[in-house]
Symmetry: C2
Subunit: 336 residues, 2 copies
Amino acid sequence: MTDIALIDAAAARLSGHARCTPLLSSPFLDAIAGRQVLVKAECLQHTGSFKFRGAWSALSALPQPALKSGVIAYSSGNHAQGVAMAARAFGAPAVIVMPADAPDVKIETTRALGAEVVLYDRATQDRDAIGTELAQTRGLTLVKPFDDPQVIAGQASVGLELAEQAARSGVTSGEVLVCCGGGGLTSGIALALEARAPSFRVRPVEPEGFDDVARSLRSGRIERNARTSGSICDAIITPQPGDLTFPILHRLCGPGLVVTEEDCLRAMALAFQRLRIVLEPGGAVALAAALFQPDQSDADTLIVTASGGNVTPEVFAQALATGQAASSRSARPLTR
Amino acid sequence: MTDIALIDAAAARLSGHARCTPLLSSPFLDAIAGRQVLVKAECLQHTGSFKFRGAWSALSALPQPALKSGVIAYSSGNHAQGVAMAARAFGAPAVIVMPADAPDVKIETTRALGAEVVLYDRATQDRDAIGTELAQTRGLTLVKPFDDPQVIAGQASVGLELAEQAARSGVTSGEVLVCCGGGGLTSGIALALEARAPSFRVRPVEPEGFDDVARSLRSGRIERNARTSGSICDAIITPQPGDLTFPILHRLCGPGLVVTEEDCLRAMALAFQRLRIVLEPGGAVALAAALFQPDQSDADTLIVTASGGNVTPEVFAQALATGQAASSRSARPLTR
């Protein structure tokens, strides 16, 4: 189980390897939200998302023979890149199982990071069967995307960092809004803050139509999404919260927040204009909630995770177009 | 005159107010450049450019009565925003003199930061005459954009930071490529490195057609640009190097590098894709030189300043379009 000792140990292994990402802010964003907004820019992490932390934490906890045999992951996105880059640093072979219809650029990037990409047909083949056979025949260790104690401990290092950074700015309480898929980042941050900065409350944020965590927190048991595709927030779409993450989320987090895709795009445009960072839609849900749902919180300060920035030029251009009206409205006089 | 004592004093005044911006990297950029490339992301500084540092340094060096009377600056861009935001923090009135045809969003942003914007007609009015009269009648202190010892000292803090950050990554020598307009940032970094990390060589980078500094370094005397408008790199276009900055540049820096506008746009697209930061064209010239002019240096490591990120959605979309072919080519296997 992940606890503060496991988190501290993971943070020590990550030190000097993961970036301590900056906590950004803009008076223009504060004016829109009506309160202080601090943005933990994990899009600036290696491979462009927080996933590098969990992957590094998991690989650095493996014994040398397991590293030598190699690792395997199922992912078409940020987890794949995190595992590939960490494996490369440890000299471990990495096999990434991806659907054959994944975007070319993701396949190429993962290969360029040194991983072997095994493609499967989503319509006719069973990913888990392919992965299990590969793992057994080649002695590969599976690195799960979120439901693994060492992965959760790695993501938790985001919570340790943001608590220290906020304290240096004089902020010791408030709400921490976290972009939430399977709950690895959200549960990790919640455990870190429970131990080190318990005056913060962690709230998961999800896109409309894929709010399994918000519903699970309300009902008190794991609820599933009706669909697992069809969202621009693809990076944080999972069938349901994890067996390890949900009990942590249930004990420490909530209530969940749910945002529209249009608000994600507007948040991406404001992050472009006011913070000069690149966010992907799934990495912008927490900022969208902070900016456009002021009635959902009474905290003086909101800390939001900007969890990833791997976005195509096409989707980014769509965000800029969506945001242009909103960004001109936001240039009103500041009151702070 | 700016020396290391003035720089250390400015850095101390900036501490806790300017952001220590991250030094970013990507194996994909290293592969393109054929060497290690480290990017000092000053686009993440307050107001989106390094100019905040110089403005804060200058204002924090003023006596209280001068602050109370207020400050004035001539700028339509990053210097205006830096002065406006610093003045707001010090409670100092700020007057910014801008051409009436400056983009609305820049005028609105400067006003939103609390400054009084005075517009003038470039065709019929003399900016300096307007500014001088305002300064005299209202007792305002002029904050020059680069040719001021305290402004240079403030920009020099970028050099102190990047030397420390590079050393923590084991890098203690190489070339530092700096986006260069009037030379405030370039000369400041050069002075800081001369004192603290003299194994680094500083090289100014300018856009084609506006290479006054490169030509001045070659001839040994101040040379002018034929034009001072008509570049997408507007943030770093000045008539000529400054009277204070040029002797420093001449003693410590060079040779200058010159890049095309198309390479700036390609560099912006790669910074978007690989570093997830937003650069403006003038803030991307150093990265463009590092990536696309490998024959111009024999250093193992290039540190580039990414000096600003205030760019319109239209120009950014143009950069993404320019870069799409280049970015797919860059996803080749990495050798490091």
